[in-house]
Amino acid sequence: MSIKNRFVFSLVVSLPMLIEMFTKPLGLMLPGGAWTMFLLATAVMAVSAGPFIQSAWAAFRHHHANMDTLVAIGTITAYLYSFYAMLAGKDVFFESAAFVVTFILLGQYFEEKMKHSASGAVSKLVDLQAKDAEVQRDGHWTKIPLAQVVVNDVIRVRPGQKIAVDGVIVDGSSTIDESMVTGESMPVTKQAGDKVIGATMNNTGTFTFKASKVGNDTLLSQIVDMVKKAQTSHAPIQKTVDKVADIFVPAVLIVAIATFTIWYVFLNASLVSAMLFAVSVVIIACPCALGIATPTALMVGTGRSAKMGILIKNGEVLEAANRVKTVVFDKTGTITAGHPQVTDIVGDTQVLQIAANLEVASEHPLAAAILAKAQAENVAVTAAKNFQAIEGKGVQATVDGQPAFIGNDKLIADYQLSADLRDRMTQLQGEAKTVVLVGVAERIIGLIAIQDAPKASSATAIAALKHRGLRTVMLTGDNQRVAQAIASEVGIDTVIADVLPGDKADHVKQLQADGPVAFVGDGINDAPALTTADVGIAMGSGTDIAIESGGIVLVKNDLMDVVRALELSQKTFNRIKLNLFWAFIYNTLGIPVAAGVFAVFGLSLSPELAGLGMALSSLSVVASSLLLNKSKLTSTPTTRVA
């Protein structure tokens, strides 16, 4: 019989006794008196409380005791005493037994419902999975179940369809809603060569892509796996609690016997009131609240963060993230975009046009930055002719019938630079930018400054971290000047430059002398530093995250997620502490009150109230954990990266 049915049964059967409680003062009694009460209570005990007794007995034989033990012993005591009292013609307490069972079942019914919703995050993630895919096999498009898709399959996706697995677009373009996996709220535009993530939603266009990861290797599968592990992990804070929980029930039984004995033998209370005190002690004690305080909060907290594209590995990481004092960032790819971009153009529109024409055939990274800029500005590029290298300085060629050139600042030796442009060049170089000179017909007409520029969200994220009282440090292999320029732009406190890749972990270790350190890096090159730090935060973009590398993995490549990750960890951990606090307070206050310690002040608990208290205590813990889903984050829900 389900908990719900047991509850309904005991409620219906107890109802006459409840009504009698109110009508008794008016002289209205149940027909049959104590015998009717006896029959009703027996029905409740047999049907609704039966499973408690069965479970308590099974546990007892294994030298275990749990909450069922307490419920069973409490209600059986009240029931058996009442049976004796009925035969001896004394006051009976059948209704106490019946009401306690009803209240506890009510609590368990709600608790069960909430527990299922707390652990629902994983199944929601799994449900994101597409069911089938349209795959090209033997020259035909056929729809096949997801499980049959293999690597290198070419898959067609139409508007409104889900992308089945991870892969790379072969043909076509579209906007894709990746929010369900990455937490990025804006649809992303993708074209041939771009990576797509399985389980994300295709919005507007039709495209085909080649599957690169299927089955358990897809990003979604890895996320599901990590969230599952996180949700079942234990936070270190729980260890003490577990020790308490282990001895809790037998200890309560001992307290209850002592309560009875002290009242009856030493304080000369009547047998009835001594018994009622003891029963209240047994009923009010709630080991469940202690037991579920940590797991439910952990489950809700990690589930919620996963929805935002923040994967927290386990309870240990969560607890460590809460203590972090310093956040150390890798520069390239973490604070900056990771590839050079054109930041300034000095001169008229011709400058970019000529530069693009000169660089179109080049494979230099700076050329890529210029061409990207030209494309972004819709500059039509026509390749220049008659290329000629200027050794160590740049190239020259013919653009529109005129000789043109582009190159580094060593070209000053060959060409005249106006005072105005010279000032600008010095200024840009002071900002740690690489300056490219562009000229036509022996004259330098403009400058293009290129830099691995900070991401749009970096400055905001660092300000937010500082606002939370954290020290920010940048660790980079770049030279001091470049590093300092970026650091001042985004507001980093301390810069450690000229660090060899292998020495990053050592620097993290030194910083740990001042308190726990979180290291934010890309997860591929920074693995040693990520492991050394108290909390390793690996940033990824798309499907290439090394998901094992960090204690916290950010699916999106957005520094604001570092702020959100730390904030969510803190919120979850605080909720765990709050839950444990209430569970402990409830038990440490509830048990003495039930034992009648404060009876002199007129403060005591009947078994029914104790039963209600027990039901509410575990209920309130689960409810408080579920509230984590609703708690506000001060950092904005999502920021867009331009």
């Binding site: 499973p51 069965q54 479970s55 308590a56 099974a58 030298h63 275990h64 749990n66 037998p250 080991p287």
Partner: protein, 123 residues
Amino acid sequence: MLKLIILIVALLLIGFIAWWFFGNHATAAVDAAVSDNTQDVGVEVSGGYSPSTVVLKKGVPATLTFNRKDPSSCLEQVVFPDFGINEFLPQNQAHAIPIDTSKSGEFDYACGMNMFHGKVIIK
């Protein structure tokens, strides 16, 4: 006189509870039987897990088949923190859980409230 008897009974009861629950009571480990390159162990869930310690062979695909007889909501979930397993066990039904035996070691598992404990040893 009655009070003296009650006092003595109470003390005896306390002693019994302490011995029964806190005393050292050994439980036996059960080895999994391997057949057709799979191994399966049935675990009855009733007031705890019996057998509470299961020994599995490394590298052989394994399942633990839980059968929850116990109506308690305490035992309705089983959690293996090391494997990321968190499943609800239906009452009076066999519920098979595959265990990854690729790594050897001792892996504890527990009910949803971490009150009842079991252990899987892979070697």
